[in-house]
């Protein structure tokens, strides 16, 4: 009786740890820390289909062939349960080994999988993965092990589903659905952070506003579907033309924005000019037509333009973009005080 209470307490704290986890690795860590107090096993595995990951928590002396057998068996059960079939060597393994047994009970290097309990991780009829307890001894698991594992699996599936939903909501809220670039909301938040960092540390920061020239013509002559295709092509060109630390977003319509952290004005001009030329020299395949496009760009920079806020940086880049448009398009313009004075009505 006392043992059952002890086990129930361990089960309770395992479930609590799983339900308060904020990422899959944490779920795995809490399972790894608690499960040896509940079950006698050689290897415990979690297969998570979405990220195509297989975590294994194993006895230190677990030989590699045993590990391979465990992986194969988990994937086999997963496929029997209507999940897709995966080749074992396609799945990245994350293995954590720990001393689960006393020295005299170390596993035989030729040990094979003799018993297992494998349960699907299911939510609302959807199979998300599976969990598995494995042992090199026959008949190692009983009814109580199965009951406890099913409770743990139930909680894991619910928490993992929660992660999945959270990540898709997060994606919807930060990405532009057409181009896959960040959206305006995200970029403004990101720029706020970058600007604060730059103002505080006195490091340079450049902002580039990009607008496709005469885009209305593309929509009017080729159609809106083709227009959308052109936006996607330009988006991927922009994305592939910047550095890893830079951020590209769709600001709205045919307008894009680039945040170039730790970048002086001269450097940002070189980057913008390179992109402008690249667009000019690319023939975009849109529907059945080949289209030539050009872009106009406006640059603002901290500290060169003495902006005091992200709003000011945006306004300055927008002003420079206006100058580029007014100056004949297919141009890169840098903000100047003169142009600002020119547009502000007195």
């Amino acid at each position: 009786m006392r043992l059952i209470f002890k086990n129930l307490n361990v089960l309770r704290s395992t479930i609590n740890a799983i339900s308060t986890s904020i990422e899959i690795k944490e779920i795995f860590a809490s399972a790894g820390n608690n499960l040896p107090n509940l079950f006698d096993f050689s290897s415990f595995g979690i297969f998570w289909k979405e990220d195509l990951l297989l975590f294994l928590f194993q006895e230190d002396s677990c030989p590699p062939p045993f590990t391979q057998e465990v992986v194969k068996n988990m994937l086999k059960v997963f496929s029997t349960l209507g999940g897709e079939s995966f080749e074992a060597d396609r799945i990245p393994l994350q293995i954590e080994k720990r001393k689960l047994r006393p020295k005299q009970m170390m596993m035989d290097p030729k040990a094979t999988l003799k018993s297992h309990l494998t349960l699907p991780l299911t939510v609302e009829g959807e199979i998300l993965g599976c969990i598995s307890l494995n042992n090199d001894q026959p008949n190692a698991f009983d009814v109580q092990d199965l009951q406890f594992l099913s409770v743990i699996g139930y909680q894991m599936a619910a928490t993992l589903k929660h992660f999945q939903r959270f990540s898709s909501i997060k994606n919807i809220s930060i990405y532009d659905p057409l181009t896959g670039l960040y959206n305006r909301r995200y970029i403004e938040e990101k720029l706020g952070g970058e600007a604060q960092k730059s103002f505080h540390r006195r490091t340079p920061l450049s902002l580039v506003m990009v607008d496709i020239d005469h885009f209305k013509k593309v929509n009017d002559t080729l159609g809106h579907t083709e227009g959308d295709q052109a936006l996607c092509k330009i988006s991927s060109l922009l994305k592939n033309s910047v550095r890893k630390k830079d951020t590209v977003a769709r600001y709205g319509g045919e307008e894009f924005i680039l945040i170039l952290p730790e970048t002086f004005l001269e450097e940002s001009f070189v980057i913008a000019e390179r992109i402008r030329r690249l667009v000019e020299n690319t023939s975009f395949e849109v529907g059945k037509a080949q289209v030539n496009l050009t872009v106009s760009m406006g640059i603002s920079n901290f500290p060169s333009h003495r902006a005091k806020s992200k709003e000011e940086l945006i306004r300055m880049a927008d002003q420079a973009l206006y100058d580029a448009k007014r100056g004949g398009r297919n141009k890169v313009c840098v903000f100047t005080e003169k142009s600002a004075q020119w547009t502000i009505p007195i």
Binding site: V77, S115, L117, T118, P120, V123, G125, V143, D145, L146
Partner: protein
């Protein structure tokens, strides 16, 4: 007369499997939980629905399995066909249980399932 007799044994077979499925539900849901069991039932039905279309009328939810619609849909199905359909369903479930937990679930289930299979066969052979 023949039709009446056939209906009678269909009902008997359905009663028998209704109890059997209820029993499977009670035993197995206590071991692996309702969510997984619901999933397995649906999986097994999907596997057999082409051959035994009346199994599609089983209503499976986390509250259990209801045979109400099957009774209506099986009025024209021969008792032996009903028996075979449910027998295949139970066999497939048993195969899934064994894939998941080797003998742990089936060991609990077998003593309850086996006599009812025999009973169904007896009813069919008496017809």
């Amino acid at each position: 007369m023949g039709d009446k007799g056939e209906k009678g044994s269909s009902d008997l077979v359905l009663d028998l499997y209704s109890n059997l499925i209820k029993e499977i539900w009670e035993v197995v849901s206590a071991l692996i939980g309702e969510a997984i069991l619901t999933f397995l039932f649906i999986l097994a039905i999907r596997k057999l629905e082409e051959k035994y279309s009346f199994l599609n009328s089983l209503k499976v939810s986390e509250e259990g399995v209801s045979l109400e619609r099957v009774r209506e849909d099986c009025r024209t199905v021969a008792p032996v066909e009903i028996h075979r359909g449910f027998q295949s369903l139970v066999n497939h479930l048993s195969h899934l249980f064994s894939a998941l937990a080797e003998g742990v679930i089936n060991k609990e289930l077998f003593p309850k399932v086996f006599p009812k299979f025999k009973e169904a066969e007896r009813i069919i052979s008496q017809k």
